[in-house]
């Protein structure tokens, strides 16, 4: 198995997804199965091959430095689960 319980716990934390302890084994199995399967790529010779991040042949278009947005705080927070005086609220962060 390419991923164990600890790996899954680690990436689940990186991805901030709560995975109940009792599901870790099963998930490790599933993910390992997928990882083992994608490892078939190892047999492809990619020496000197440029990685392709995007198929589009366009380069980054640039926009003018003009203010075209903002000034819509009510819309920005319209769907907020918790809002106060125009701020989004989250459980207190302790540094």
């Amino acid at each position: 198995m390419s991923l164990d319980k600890a790996d899954v716990r680690k990436i689940a934390y990186l991805a901030r997804i709560k995975v109940p302890d009792e599901d870790l084994d099963h998930l490790a199995g599933e993910l390992s199965q997928i990882i083992d399967w994608v490892e078939q790529l190892a047999e492809v010779n990619t020496d000197g091959v440029e990685p392709m991040a995007s198929v589009s042949d366009v380069t980054l278009p640039m926009r003018e430095d003009v203010i075209t947005g903002g000034n819509r705080p009510a819309e920005v927070t319209a769907n907020a689960p918790e809002e106060n005086k125009g701020f989004f609220l989250v459980p207190k962060v302790v540094e």
Partner: protein, 485 residues
């Protein structure tokens, strides 16, 4: 001057690298059309993208790209015509996408240099590793509510240039000089306002120590978001000592991010849990590579202003100023412009002296910048003219300067109204000289008996009698002639 710290076991050298985040001067944010203005109501300068709403996509602001290139040129750095934006993945309440858009292995600007000024004629080149463009986060406020943090995204998405130095700095003084010089350069370029109080320039300080003579790079600690030059210097001092003490006791330094506490000048480990950061950088698929032509770069180069280093050299060669004075005058572009206006058609050294010792002293005392100076360059120039054409003495000029501040009048008016014109009329001076000689026969005898240094006393008496208006040179000459023949 080398900064060597004596430990118990050996002498230590400090190795410092800085990552400085400079907020780019632009109207709109890096990838959205929201304003970059400071202040505003909560979440007012926020566009749909900045709030990370589903389906929103980034489009880059051309001026932010230009500013990065301009800064790169100002740092004499390699400009990369092709660069790539990547996603840096981590969660934070004021970072709406769950990743920061930044540049990772292919930044817009590569290696460059910054020349540090470390006292009279003493310079040192420090390497810049890279400059990249990235987005700022929003702001979390933790003191508004007992159990909640408040999130404002007004700053989220504002363009930052992260300028990373090589680990070339060796002392708190060099750290100070680096930050001041970088600030000077970006302000000359107009690419960042360099305001550390408002956070438009923030510094991450990386510190390690090593035994003198060693070339190794030991484990470093990073103090994030230090927001003044003085604090950065303090952080280095404290952190270097801390490392040395730990090594002296046979301990090891743990690589970590530490918090600098400006209230007592110390650093401490951040209490947040010991988590393995794994940013999982990868090229942002929403943003194709940033590619521009040499022509684009050359157009920016053509608009580059004269930078502080070149300006300083010019002041030394053209105006005959000392390196030190020139360095002081060019550090702030506004100061240099003021100086050049005063010096135009005048004695540049005189102008430099007056600006550095008198005007800057005044501004410092009043906590003002040159743009708020109570004395304009034009008026200071006119005051210097009055000295140069012997209308007033340098001594009187200081008084006139004070009166200019008090009254707001121009120097000519003050000199005229207060009757401060220097007495150059030999007859008038002679009268005063004769009176003093006649009133002090015993002192005259002493001078003539060989105590020539007493002539100074006679000069003082004559100046007093003329309320300082007599030309001191003329008084001196006349006294010598009359007393010594």
């Amino acid at each position: 001057m080398s900064y060597i710290l004596q430990g118990e076991t050996c002498e230590w050298e400090v190795v410092i690298g800085l990552e400085v985040h400079c907020q780019v001067v632009s109207n709109a944010k890096l990838f959205s059309g929201a304003s970059t203005d400071f202040g505003g109501e909560p979440n007012d300068h926020v566009d749909l993208l900045d709030a990370g709403l589903p389906g929103m996509l980034p489009v880059i602001n051309e001026v932010c790209v230009e500013q990065a290139v301009r800064t790169g040129l100002g740092l004499k750095a390699q400009i990369n015509n092709r660069s790539v934006f990547s996603r840096k993945n981590y969660f934070y309440a004021d970072m709406p996408f769950g990743y920061q858009i930044t540049q990772f292995d292919q930044p817009i600007v590569g290696e460059g240099t910054i020349v540090l000024e470390l006292g009279e004629g003493h310079y040192r080149e420090v390497g810049v590793e890279r400059l990249h463009l990235e987005t700022d986060a929003g702001k979390s406020m933790h003191d508004q509510h007992p159990t909640k943090s408040f999130i404002d995204l007004n700053r989220a998405g504002v363009a930052l240039m992260e300028i990373v130095s090589k680990p070339d700095l060796r002392s708190p003084e060099e750290v100070g000089a680096y930050l001041r010089k970088l600030r000077s350069i970006v302000r000359y370029l107009g690419t960042c306002d360099g305001n550390m109080d408002e956070g438009s320039m923030r510094c991450d300080v990386n510190v390690s120590v090593r035994p003198v003579g060693s070339e190794e790079l030991r484990t470093r600690c990073e103090m994030k978001n230090v927001n003044s030059v003085r604090f950065a210097m303090q952080a280095v001092e404290y952190e270097a000592q801390r490392h040395i003490e730990i090594y002296d006791e046979g301990g090891e330094i743990k690589q970590e991010t530490r918090l600098f506490d400006s209230s007592n000048g110390t650093t401490r480990s951040m209490r947040s849990k010991e988590e393995a950061h794994d940013y999982r950088y990868f090229p942002d698929p929403d943003l194709p590579p940033l590619v521009f032509s040499d022509e684009f770069v050359e157009q920016i180069r053509a608009t580059l202003p004269e930078l502080p280093d070149e300006r300083r050299e010019r002041y030394v060669s053209d105006y005959g100023l000392s390196e030190y004075d020139a360095g002081i005058l060019v550090a702030e572009k506004d100061n240099a412009v003021y100086f050049e206006e005063v010096a135009k058609g005048r004695d540049a050294k005189l102008a430099a002296n007056w600006i550095i010792s008198t005007l800057f002293g005044l501004l410092k005392k009043e906590g003002k910048s040159i743009s708020e100076s109570p004395i304009s360059a034009d008026r200071l120039g006119k005051l210097l003219d009055l000295i140069s054409n012997d209308t007033i003495s340098g001594r009187i000029a200081k008084d006139v300067f004070e009166m200019m501040i008090e009254t707001g009048n121009d120097p000519e008016t003050i000199v005229e109204e207060k009757g401060l014109k220097q007495i150059t009329d030999t007859g008038a001076i002679e009268g005063a000289v004769d009176e003093i000689i006649a009133a002090n026969p015993d002192k005259v005898a002493e001078v003539q008996g060989g105590k020539e240094q007493l002539i100074g006393w006679f000069v003082g008496q004559v100046m007093k009698a003329t309320q300082g208006k007599a030309n001191p040179g003329a008084v001196n000459g006349m006294l010598k002639k009359k007393l010594l023949g």
